[in-house]
């Protein structure tokens, strides 16, 4: 028997898409039965009470969660988000319902052994509810009480060899695309770089020292599967410098219809025969491809590596060999100053595992130093950058200035010249001036 009546939520059990309501109900039933005899450490009926609170929100159109209090584990400033229900008498099972963020393996690959052990912890010490995954990428364990936090942390670190993720004004859990593990477009090992920087910056991740949150995301290529350009304060997008490699025989096979374009992504509809002129040549944004006499010709110097031709003919075209990463700075969602896309700070830097990615770390640390010095409280770096100018950021990061960093030069001539830019500096002699110009 369900603890609360949920007529509105029940309507979300039908329809094809997996129903979270059905799932929570099954968990509520499993906990009530407790076939394995688990000694639940938080209220057994918290899934029931969660449905109860949610039904109440569905009825009156308002949330019933209170502002989080400060809870966490000793020595960490993040990783746990405090949460309390504003109707604790009605729903005691979720009166305290804190979230624990757990650092996910990059690319989100799992063994069932690891996931099962994690679920065992959460069965015993939590609500039995999770988010796989949170928006920043972490494994999110939803709902536990304060006394369980240290215990959970202990078990994670001692038994599962895994740590909490980030929350608060610190480095958030970095995330990468699946990269080289299963994608031929990856221009560098996004997962390894993500892992390395995550380990290097554990202190920044767990102990808030920044003006506000800071996110790293790693895309293996310009297709952007983890949205680094739009969702990270420093976004790393794989790129290459040399020509796209062309296999003319495979090109002919696409033209002849033996291979489906775009890896078969358009198979659900009859779009007609593949037309290389219309579908590749004409869509190239830099107009650097032509198809003549059965051959695909590319003026590679003009290519902007948008990936379209490669995506369309993956068996015929391949990314170049001279690979590295472009670094973008300042992306964020609208709060506070409107949305910002990442701006290209470093057009190309080598991804060199042999020196422990020193060139990349130098840039990261210089950017942080500048932001920690100049940034205001709760100001994302994208806002600091807007306030103080891109050139100031580039100078702080030690990055050379390059036409690639802009879409077009400035519109206004109000240039902040510095004294050292001008012959003779700014110190002038008024007496000398007056010799030439009467009062």
């Amino acid at each position: 028997m369900a603890k609360h009546k949920t007529p509105l939520l029940d309507q979300l059990e039908s329809g094809p898409w997996p129903s979270f309501v059905s799932d929570i109900k099954q968990e509520a039933a499993a906990r009530a039965k407790n076939e394995k005899g688990v000694q639940y450490q938080v209220a057994v009926d918290c899934p029931d009470d969660l449905l109860g609170v949610l039904e109440m929100s569905f009825t009156d159109g308002e949330t019933h969660w209170k502002h989080g209090g400060i809870v966490g584990v000793f020595g960490y400033g993040g990783g746990v988000i405090g949460r309390y229900c504003d109707q604790p008498q009605m729903f005691p099972g979720v009166a305290h319902f804190h979230t624990v963020r757990v650092a996910q393996p990059n690319g989100k690959w799992y063994s069932t052994e690891f996931l099962r052990s994690l679920m065992d912890i959460w069965d015993l010490r939590g609500s039995g509810l999770t988010n796989l995954h949170g928006a920043t990428g972490d494994i999110v364990l939803l709902g536990t009480s304060t006394p369980q936090l240290e215990e959970i942390f202990w078990e994670l670190t001692h038994n599962l060899n895994v740590d909490l993720g980030g929350s608060g004004s610190n480095l958030r859990t970095p995330a990468s695309c699946m990269g080289m593990s299963r994608c031929q477009y990856a221009c560098y090992d996004a997962q390894e770089l993500c892992y390395n920087l995550t380990q290097e910056y554990q202190d920044e991740l767990h102990r808030p020292a920044f003006p506000y949150k800071f996110k790293f995301k790693f895309d293996g290529c310009p297709n952007g599967c983890v949205a680094a350009i739009a969702r990270s304060d420093l976004g790393f997008l794989g790129t290459f410098k040399d020509p796209i490699k062309i296999n003319q025989e495979a090109v002919a096979a696409y033209v002849g219809g033996e291979i489906a374009p775009n890896a078969g992504a358009h198979a659900g509809r009859d779009w007609g025969k593949f037309d290389i002129q219309k579908e590749v040549v004409d869509l190239c944004p830099s107009k650097c491809i032509s198809y003549e006499g059965g051959k695909l010709i590319m003026d590679h110097k003009e290519c902007v590596r948008c990936m379209h031709c490669i995506n369309t003919m993956p068996q015929a075209l391949r990314i170049g060999d001279d690979r590295g990463v472009s670094i973008f700075c300042g992306a964020k969602a609208p709060i506070l100053d409107g949305p910002q896309m990442g701006s290209l700070l470093v057009p190309f830097v080598e991804v060199n595992k042999d020196d422990d990615y020193q060139a990349i770390k130098d840039i990261v640390e210089a950017v942080w130093d500048w932001w920690m010095e100049e940034g205001k409280n709760r100001e994302r770096i994208g806002e600091t950058m807007k306030r103080l100018g891109f050139a100031a950021l580039a100078e702080a990061a030690g990055v050379p200035i390059d036409a690639r960093q802009v879409q077009e030069p400035r519109h206004n001539p109000y240039i902040f010249w510095k004294a050292e830019d001008v012959e003779g500096g700014w110190e002038r002699d008024l007496a000398e001036f007056r010799k030439r110009h009467q009062r």
């Binding site: 949460r83 690959w109 198979a267």
Partner: protein, 381 residues
């Protein structure tokens, strides 16, 4: 329920403590065929909706079966996913950035069998447990935030709006008949934990009433200077009120300056905004992230407000379906939703999608607004 200790001793919190070890290395979790061919993949094909085949330079093939998930999942459900991975996929699985689940097998028939098996799993309530799809030119799973399930600032629910939307666009999850991929994202307030600002279609919870001020408690619960500083439009200022003969230090809000961002509430729990009548949803469209053909782009607001209509949000899903269908019928192959709208012109977009253009859709927020106004005679009647 007796307290079970894990070994942690609250009297000596530092004893035996392990910290700052970070995530597990992903290399520990790769299926054998993935580990063997790491960085040496040749090309991929989508064999059927939801079934991918990656061919390595070595000639090895990895078949991936991708299925959707409700993101909010229980321990019982995750264990069921593990059972499937143990039985069919050698004890390995992965999650995609958009909360799909992927199982890797090494044989095509096994992949097709797994697909059939997954499509057959149902919850008692009738919904599918693991619908296969989410590949190519279609709609994939919706990335979303917490909503009424777990957050203190939402203007709408996340899991509910996502379930309602995915049910309505389900056909496009399982078939690849759109002109290009369509990414739908959901965030339940302007904080946008889900960062929906670059999505083909975005569902965004919004408030429309300025904060309530809980004068009697404000000074106890909040740092007034922080609350004042938090407001991006300078609507909050320190103030004093008399209540029942007592003077309280508090804040005053210049209501006409409020853009309902909720930032003050984040700093100060005595300034809640949520309101059954005020809250609802805005629809944004035309954003993208990839650099493919056209540049990454922000989403644009095309419907400023739709009321919350739980449990199924019919007005919202109708608008989304109409936009999706109009785009599907009208756009060119490879053309993302925003590129289509740019090509036909936004005045046409509103006409074709039967949406009303109102003053609320003209940007008035700081400098960037100016770049969205028209400075040419090139417009369409």
């Amino acid at each position: 329920m007796a307290f079970i200790s894990s070994g942690y001793n609250p009297d000596k919190p530092m004893e035996g403590r392990i910290s700052d070890i970070g995530p597990r290395h992903f290399g520990e979790f790769l299926p054998p065929v993935i580990a063997k061919n790491f960085g040496k993949w040749d090309y991929h094909e989508i064999l059927e909706p939801g079934v991918l085949c990656h061919t390595a330079l070595s000639g090895d093939k990895a078949y991936t079966v991708r299925c959707g998930s409700a993101r909010l999942m229980t321990v019982t459900h995750v264990r069921e996913i593990c059972d499937i991975a143990d039985k069919y996929a050698g004890g390995h699985l992965r999650f995609t950035t958009r909360n799909n689940i992927e199982f890797i097998v090494e044989d095509k028939q096994a992949a097709l069998d797994l697909k059939a098996f997954l499509n057959n799993q149902k919850f008692p309530g009738g919904s599918m447990k693991f619908p296969v799809g989410g590949t190519g030119a279609g709609v994939t799973n919706i990335v979303h935030t917490q909503g009424w399930i777990h957050c203190h600032t939402p203007a709408t629910d996340a899991s509910g709006t996502v379930k309602a939307t995915m049910d309505v666009v389900f056909d496009d999850f399982q078939n690849m008949k759109l002109p290009a991929p369509v990414r739908i994202s959901m965030a339940c307030c302007l904080n946008m934990c889900g960062a929906v600002h670059c999505s083909d279609i975005a569902i965004l919870g919004i408030h429309r009433k300025p904060p309530l001020i809980d004068h009697e408690y404000l000074d106890n619960l909040c740092e007034i200077p922080l609350a004042v500083a938090s407001c991006p439009t300078g609507a909050v200022r320190p103030s004093k009120v008399e209540l029942n003969g007592k003077t309280y230090k508090t804040v005053a809000i210049k209501e006409e300056r409020c853009m309902f961002c909720g930032n003050c509430y984040t700093m100060c729990p005595s300034l809640p905004l949520s309101d059954g009548e005020g809250d609802g949803i805005a629809i944004m469209v035309g954003g993208k992230i990839s650099n493919r053909v056209t540049k990454p782009a922000f989403s644009k607001v095309v419907v400023p407000y739709i009321p919350n209509e739980p449990p199924r949000w019919p007005t919202m899903t109708k608008v989304i379906k109409k936009i999706l269908d109009t785009y599907a019928a009208d756009a060119n192959k490879y053309e993302r939703l925003g590129d289509w709208a740019n090509r036909i012109g936004w005045e046409r977009f509103f006409e074709k999608c039967e949406l009303e253009f109102t003053a609320h859709l003209i940007d008035d927020f700081r400098d960037p607004a100016y770049y969205t106004w028209r400075q040419t005679t090139q417009f369409k009647w």
